[in-house]
């Protein structure tokens, strides 16, 4: 770096002068917004401060409606009349081989009991599991040709979130936060709302920051009115008292003879932000003041939609206030409380769809009428689909060779279908879309170039998409 030594010194010296002169000692900046309300946000000392995208962006935020356990494409968005005709027979040889987790070779095909109809101006085919979502058909780009590499939950979930089939790599939420920062100072940048019924196979590492710095980790929301850990003051401590304690911290830090340096200033600023989060964000988490019409729209206060509705509404409010990535998980705990319908596809999917249909539709409509859908990319889907073959008579096994996900908003062209599976829904045969292509498309909509969003790890510049993905041109 010697070639720019002279110029660099100018920066170094001026920076110090600036710090000293402009703020009479940088220490005073730390709790500035507590002591003085005017905005002295120190020009982004917060490591999450917003950063410009590589390319012009269409979307600013992502909401991932994660259907954990793997919803069936055959019962939802990918009708297969031939499958009903072949019900009870072995899979004809011409469809080729498939490996399942449980179903053995030679299992019998299982017909679908759902009925499909065309919806919206686009005439998109959606099954009767989703009557509310069907009213949003023209927003949806239904990708029928998704595929992944793994047929077991944990590894498939890692691949869906991080692009790798092993844990330890950053999830898409962490990548986006790393690439773009956050628009909000008082809210976490990346939020996961797990299903309160329980956890998923891949566990926390699926959502985590992997080798990216801890600042890009997800905030896991807890169920109930106080979703964020450590935002509450400890029992018996008043806000006034805590304000005084913060002032003491600030004063003692300044009284220390060690000259101000960037690291210390950043830490002081972190305390400032923490206090802001603590005082401002609880208001946002409070849904009690939402209009009745909104509650109705999301199905809040009614069963079985109350829980998922609450979380979808919270997701809208978070995105509206600058949160970058929100994952709203549907399904958790034992398999049958997820979309993991090994035993009875009808029972499971009727129940799961009833819990999520109205909230999802409510979310899309709400985003749309608030003008947020254009800048918010909504992604729906699970870690895989389900097998054309029956498991345990009425159930379906995991299936990664061809299944459906959909996207809406965020500049995605809705009202269309991408790709196709074969006539029994076994394999993506037309325009196959791998998880990495989904990732690439999401990054593209947010103005990020997959080859430039990198971080050095184990000797190379790692990226979300691992090997390169393709943008799904048809829908962007």
């Amino acid at each position: 770096m010697s070639s720019n030594a002279a110029a660099h010194s100018r920066l170094t010296r001026t920076r110090r002068e600036f710090v000293r002169d402009a703020f009479c000692g940088f220490g005073s900046l730390a709790l500035a917004s507590i002591l003085r309300p005017q905005d002295l946000r120190a020009a982004g000392i917060n490591p999450l401060s917003e950063r410009p995208p590589h390319l012009p962006a269409k979307a600013k935020a992502v909401i991932f409606l994660f259907m954990a356990g793997g919803p069936s494409h055959l019962e939802t968005f990918d009708p297969k009349p031939l499958l009903n005709q072949l019900h009870g027979q072995a899979r004809p040889k011409e469809f080729g081989e498939a490996k399942y987790q449980f179903v053995k070779t030679g299992a019998k095909l299982l017909g679908c009991k759902r009925t499909f109809a065309r919806h919206g101006q686009s005439g998109l085919e959606i099954s009767d599991l989703f009557p509310h979502l069907a009213t949003c058909a023209d927003h949806l780009a239904v990708i029928r040709s998704c595929y992944g590499d793994m047929v077991v939950h944990s590894a498939a979930q890692y691949e869906l979130f991080t692009g790798r089939i092993v844990p330890g790599y950053p999830s898409m939420g962490s990548w986006l936060t790393y690439g773009l920062g956050s628009e909000s100072e008082s809210l976490p940048a990346y939020v996961v709302m797990p299903d309160p019924k329980g956890a998923l196979e891949a566990g926390q590492p699926m959502y985590a920051n992997g080798f990216l710095p801890a600042v890009f980790q997800p905030t896991m929301f807890r169920p109930g009115e106080r979703p964020v850990l450590n935002l509450e003051l400890p029992a018996g401590v008043t806000l006034a008292q805590r304000r005084r304690t913060l002032r003491l911290i600030n004063e003692l830090n300044r009284a220390n003879s060690t000259p101000a340096d960037e690291e210390f200033n950043a830490r002081l600023n972190a305390y400032d932000l923490a206090f802001k989060m603590q005082t401002e964000s609880p208001k946002l988490f409070d849904l009690s003041k939402e209009p009745a019409e909104t509650m109705q729209l999301y199905g809040i206060g009614q069963q079985p939609t109350h829980d998922y509705g609450r979380r979808c509404l919270l997701a809208r409010k978070l995105v509206e206030n600058g949160v970058r990535f929100v994952c709203v998980v549907a399904g958790g705990g034992p398999g049958n409380l997820q979309w993991d319908a090994h035993n009875d596809i009808e029972e499971n999917h009727l129940r799961k769809a009833a819990e999520t249909d109205r909230p999802m539709a409510g979310l899309l409509l709400d985003l749309h009428r608030r003008g947020l859908l254009d800048s918010t990319l909504v992604l729906w889907g699970g870690e895989f689909g389900r097998s054309p073959e029956a498991e345990s008579g009425k159930g379906r096994d995991h299936h990664n060779l061809g299944f459906t996900m959909w996207m809406a908003g965020g500049g995605i062209k809705g009202g269309q279908v991408v790709g196709a599976t074969d006539a029994i829904g076994l394999r993506a045969i037309e325009n196959p879309v791998h998880f990495r292509d989904l990732h690439t498309t999401i990054l593209h909509q947010l103005g990020l170039d997959q080859t430039r969003l990198t971080y050095p790890h184990l000797g190379r510049n790692e990226r979300l998409t691992f090997v390169e993905g393709k943008v799904i041109d048809q829908i962007v």
Binding site: A5, S9, T14, F102, V166, Q204, N230, E232, Q241, F264
Partner: protein, 716 residues
């Protein structure tokens, strides 16, 4: 990769001359938008942005590689002879000490000669010596990971005799806490965890034996060549001892995917072999050999064939759980477990045939029975070679197990051996011993360099090579190549003992310099020439690690439980956190509450449930080798320290201790608080601020404030 020189003229008007930023950017587009044109609130606003960016860069936020499109690293040489010329593949040559150390500067040992020579070249001076108070605090955190007790500080300050510092160093190196502190660094490298990760996150209830092995090895200064050999091949060494078998748990530390249903034996085997091979590269070779699994390494002269030849050393290695109980106990356990297993098998078969509700019920019964299985007898989860189950090793196209190419057998990477060296026969009785022998050959160019660099990194904040797991083309070049070689040669010369190297490093004058140069002008000048402090013109301050912060709060409030070794502790955690586990029953809180106050290294390392406190302060994710931790700074850390259960509970305990020990005298209380928490007396200004605060506010809040001070969280 060597940081490319990058600069961006921001062309800010109103400044005396252009302001140029020189940095290693995350990518070029980080800079777009920082100019005045987009943020046109005048130069001050623009300057804020520059300032912010500078800070962001300092903070490792943008510690990323340069834009690959414009600064591609040198391609790996195809010419074998040329490839061997790369610095880290060259033999270590013990260099002569630099001639006549520059006049005036203090040199305590050869390290100083090397460092001062480089400083002099650049016209830089080291900083003045740190104060004795700073030194004892620095040394204690560095060597034992705990703060010095006030009495120890007093004794050290009062000891004006020659050699007082060196005696302190020796005392600390001999403390049992030394191993506890330094073992954590190694556990990071080998991605130590006690559970297998993935869906089941199955516990290896006896994996802690490996953690204790590492602590003990560091405490007794086991020679590094021996340490390496035992981990790689402990089970092959004869006669086998429990200690050696324990060392070989090393091979069981990687994440393991197990799944129900149709087995994918070949794929699973491939995943296990991949884990076992890649960690050798990261931990011992300092090479990213894992990159060559799918294709020839893009940056280093390691071919795909080299990769699979390395994997071949593990071809026969299989899990081997060794029971440590008597034959009778084992028989008893087997009988009980056999009965239970039989019942389990029956239920599982029934569940496979059942449907719907019946199947759910059977599954519940299975789970209930599983949780009541007789507890496993003491075991070492080791490995052994099972020649009947030896995996045939092939070069795999794109790393996919089903795409088998040319068969290969074991041999070290070509660039590091004589090219005519034939592959070893696959029926070799002790393949991993052979691998260890190659790695610990005194002429091996990497092993010694890699380990002495790790030591240096933890003492000085940054390694001589900044990328401790990557000594390849994409890694950093050494800041002091001769010093690195001298240290590596010294290690081999002294029989691979690490403690003498620790001693050399911390006894150097360079280590004992202040983190603050003699005045702002000196600081500015040095910052201009060497902004990253690679040349060590001052001591690099550092934030305490997650473990150190927790352990220090425990020590300061007087609650640290010094019990050493044994099974890991599961502390009570928020129930909502446990519910995030796929099998919440796995979190069995330890029965004895005294255990919750043990050092952090004794808390369980569970892949799917990390303590939020640890996570927030940059504990690595326990899944991939971590040679160097991040040190990030962000608001959730402040929330954790201000509102978190741990810091508040310990602040309460600290307040109680202060009350107890100060006899009701406010002045004495403030004195004691500073002595315990910060290892020094308060200045009069600090004393005044504290006294004013305590007139109105609870002592507990004062105690919490001390935990949150920079002077508490950082070592100077």
């Amino acid at each position: 990769m060597r940081p490319p020189d990058r600069s961006l003229n921001l062309g800010l008007s109103g400044q005396p001359g252009p302001v140029t930023l020189c940095a290693q950017p995350m990518n070029r587009h980080d800079f777009v938008g920082f100019g005045v044109s987009r943020h046109s609130a005048g130069w001050r606003s623009a300057f804020c942005r520059v300032l912010a960016l500078g800070i962001a860069l300092v903070h490792g936020l943008a510690r990323a590689a340069a834009d690959p499109t414009s600064a591609s690293p040198p391609p790996a040489s195809t010419n074998a002879t040329e490839a061997r010329q790369f610095w880290s593949f060259q033999p270590v040559r013990r260099p002569a000490l630099p001639q006549s150390p520059p006049g005036g500067a203090l040199t305590h040992n050869p390290i100083d000669a090397f460092v001062l020579a480089r400083l002099e070249e650049k016209g830089l001076d080291p900083s003045p010596p740190a104060s004795k108070g700073e030194l004892i605090r620095r040394l204690c955190f560095d060597l034992i990971g705990l703060p010095p007790a006030p009495e120890d500080i007093r004794a050290f300050l009062d000891d004006a005799s020659a050699g007082a510092y060196e005696r302190l160093v020796d005392r600390l190196l001999n403390r049992p806490e030394f191993g506890e502190r330094w073992a954590q660094h190694w556990l990071d490298v080998v991605r130590y965890a006690e559970t297998e990760g993935f869906e089941y996150d199955r516990h290896l209830p006896e994996a802690w034996r490996y953690r204790d092995y590492v602590i003990q090895a560091f405490n007794e200064d086991k020679p590094f060549d021996r340490f390496l050999t035992e981990q790689l091949a402990g089970d092959e060494l004869t006669p086998e001892t429990q200690e050696q078998l324990t060392a070989a748990i090393f091979h069981r530390l990687g994440p393991v995917r197990r799944n129900a249903g149709n087995p994918e034996i070949a794929l699973s085997r491939n995943e296990v072999l991949t884990e076992r091979t890649d960690v050798i590269g990261a931990a011992f070779l300092g090479l990213t050999v894992g990159c060559a699994r799918c294709h020839d390494h893009k940056f280093d002269p390691i071919s795909q064939k080299d990769y699979y030849r390395l994997q071949a050393y593990f071809a026969a290695s299989q899990e081997n759980d060794i029971l440590l109980v008597s034959a009778d106990e084992k028989k008893d356990w087997e009988a009980k477990s056999k009965a239970a297993q039989g019942e389990l098998r029956r239920l599982r078969q029934a569940a496979d045939r059942a449907e719907g509700e019946e199947r759910t019920q059977l599954n519940n019964q299975i789970e209930a029975l599983e949780s009541k299985m007789p507890s496993y007898p003491a075991t070492i989860p080791s490995i052994h070679n099972d020649t009947d189950q030896r995996t045939a090793i092939h070069v795999l196209h794109r790393g996919q197990w089903e795409k088998k190419g040319e068969p290969v057998a074991m041999r070290p990477p070509s660039v590091l051996v004589d090219e005519s060296l034939p592959e070893l026969p696959m029926d070799l009785a002790r393949p991993r011993t052979e691998l260890a022998r190659w790695l610990t050959d005194p002429r091996h160019p990497l092993t010694a360099r890699v380990i002495v660099n790790r030591l240096w990194q933890h003492h000085f904040g940054v390694g001589l090579v900044k990328t401790p797991n990557d000594f390849g083309h994409n890694g950093d070049r050494p800041s002091h190549p001769e010093l690195l070689d001298w240290l590596a040669a010294e290690l081999v010369r002294n029989g691979w003992h690490l403690k003498p190297l620790h001693r050399l490093m911390v006894c150097s004058a360079i280590y004992q310099q202040s983190s603050q140069p003699a005045g702002a002008a000196v600081m500015a000048a040095a910052g201009r020439i060497d902004p990253e402090n690679r040349l060590l013109w001052r001591f690099q301050q550092r934030r305490l690690s997650a473990e150190e912060i927790r352990d220090t709060m425990l020590a300061v409030c007087g609650r640290l439980n010094p019990r050493r070794g044994g099974p890991s502790v599961m502390v009570p955690v928020d129930s909502e956190l446990v519910q995030l586990l796929y099998k919440p029953a796995q979190w069995e809180v330890s029965r004895n509450p005294g255990d919750y106050d043990r050092r952090s290294i004794y808390l369980i390392a569970k892949r799917n449930l990390r303590l939020p406190f640890m996570e927030t302060f940059d504990q690595p994710p326990l899944l991939t080798s971590c040679g160097r931790r991040e040190s990030s700074t962000h608001a959730p850390q402040a929330l954790e320290m201000l509102n978190g259960q741990l810091s508040n509970a310990l602040a309460t305990a600290f307040a109680q201790r202060l009350e107890r020990e100060s006899g009701g005298d406010l002045g004495a209380l403030i004195e004691r608080a500073y002595a315990l928490a910060l290892g020094r007396s308060p200045t009069s200004a600090e004393h005044r601020l504290a006294a004013t605060f305590l007139q109105e506010q609870p002592l507990r809040e004062f105690a919490l404030a001390l935990f949150n001070l920079n002077a508490f969280l950082y070592v100077q």
